[in-house]
Symmetry: C2
Subunit: 319 residues, 2 copies
């Protein structure tokens, strides 16, 4: 009935997703401490920050410096995000960054406008330029994302056809440019997905590209996060982007009532995997310590569950 993977890879987004959304700019030393703690958990990829407009997102203005000051752990990839060519050029100039270039697509025009100041179709066309730019630097994309794939606060429900058009474009682009695009990500940017729509869309992408790895970027905006991870696992998905302590969120996902949930919480998702007998390579106790550090830094109770209640194994050991 289900097709759970044997092992799962989590890519940690907390340092970017978490701190870009806060009004406060936290001291760089605190963010370094968190990234260093995350490096010791067994996580293999940590998104350290983004190269975006320091006017609009001043919280990320020191991302370059951050890369230079963290303790790089062997075997861990320290990655960055950019939303345009200017950001990429900054990133590529910093040798400490593990370049894993992304291609970004929007299933919602309104969200494309908010996040990238262009229409979704324009962003799509730009991705061809991004591929060329990556090639100029001897790089190929690591992943392609379709954002707001399950719905959008501004546009409402997003049709499967709309999402699949983007994925078809991605496959064509990969063929035309003769480059691999190893990972196709479905991003539920504003928390519109539910376990059934997650399974349905994963099925569609798999039909389109049976040999390509599918990843999920999940937000827990409406409490469906872990259920959606479970649904994806049951479809064999073995690649997730998540945030320690449930840090982060999409600035356009809130309802004006404050404290809306952010990304799906890494340690809660890791606990799910371990309880299902799926390997993650992550030391859950160390991850919980990192999430408590994140809470200490942010200075308010965060949305993660296991960080407050303890991993089951810690109780099992005491019995």
């Amino acid at each position: 009935m289900t097709d759970f993977p044997k092992s799962v890879e989590f890519r940690e987004e907390g340092p970017r997703e978490g701190f870009q959304i806060e009004k406060t700019i936290y001291p760089i030393e605190q963010r370094i401490e968190l990234i260093n703690a995350l490096s010791e958990t067994g996580l293999k990829t940590i998104q350290v920050g983004s190269f975006v407009s320091p006017t609009y997102v001043p919280q990320m203005a020191d991302t370059g410096e951050l890369f230079k000051r963290i303790n790089r752990k062997e075997g861990v990839h320290y990655t960055a995000l950019w939303l345009n060519e200017k950001g990429f050029k900054k990133a590529v100039s910093i040798p400490e960054i593990d370049m894993e270039p992304k291609l970004l697509f929007y299933a919602s025009d309104a969200f494309a406008q908010q996040n990238n100041n262009c229409r979704a179709s324009e962003m799509r066309e730009r991705q061809r330029d991004w591929v060329h730019l990556y090639k100029e630097h001897d790089l190929v994309p690591d992943s392609a994302y379709v954002m707001a794939a399950f719905g959008c606060n501004m546009e409402g429900d997003i049709s499967t056809e709309r999402v699949m058009e983007d994925f078809k474009f991605i496959i064509r682009l990969s063929e035309e440019e003769n480059i691999p695009i190893p990972n196709l990500f479905l991003a539920d940017t504003m928390g519109w997905g539910n376990p059934e729509s997650v399974k349905r869309l994963i099925g569609e992408v798999r039909n389109l590209a049976p040999d390509t790895r599918i990843g999920m970027h999940i937000h827990d905006t409406r409490g469906m996060g872990i259920a959606n991870v479970y649904a994806a696992l049951s479809m064999g998905v073995d690649l997730f982007e998540s945030s320690v302590a449930g840090l982060g969120g999409c600035p356009f996902a809130g309802h004006g009532h404050g404290n809306a949930a952010g990304n799906v919480c890494t340690e809660d998702a890791v606990l799910l995997c371990h309880e299902l007998g799926i390997e993650t390579g992550i030391d859950l106790e160390k991850l919980i310590s990192a999430s408590r550090l994140a809470e200490q830094i942010i200075g308010r109770s965060l949305m993660g569950r296991v960080m407050h209640s303890g991993a089951l194994d810690s109780f099992r050991r005491k019995v």
Copy 2:
């Protein structure tokens, strides 16, 4: 592949679970206001409070008065909890209570000791006396619960056999006493369940009692709450106990790190059902208002998600 029910019943436990665990004793007027708000949401059962020792749980000392002062809405059942005969006798003396007697079983001795000051086997034998007592008052049990059915912080994992022994006892008791026990509840009191163990145990109970309704009492202690609701729904379960705003929790479920999650959040679970096309009879917007009222009363950010991000339908209407 899945066997979702057409409609689902939620029984609201927030007013008891939520306020019994708080250190503060909130003014009775505030709890009345919350119960009155919940009465307008379409919920058909609201557990108003419990009749337990006022020494150990002073928060519930005025439960009797609470029943007399709420605005009773027609069609809504206002129920109470008791853990011993003394509590039952208090409850049955108050005509405003909708008596829906429960039978309580513990799958963990250590938890029985903490919660009821006796061994699980002793509690089990007492349930026969409870049936006799209920009969004396022309009452029959509404539900039987096996608590800590998925695991216990003090005893660790609980075997399926252990849980099923309790359910076999319940079935025998029902036959011997010639009374119906309409609802069999699996209670994940300390948040040890995961979607697969939930499905497994539901399957076992259904095999044992194919014609009896199965209910789930779910705690979100480790973030598995909504995933476990989804798993239960996929097994056809149509009866859930939950708490508005995710209020509550088990006093023995925490890890000393504060703010551990409580019961699975009613409005998040209702959103899941609605998104899956399952009817609940609940007005989600009104429920969200009630959960924001709960947050206002408690005075800190609560764990519910939809209450902070808004129901999807509210966005759909704006598009």
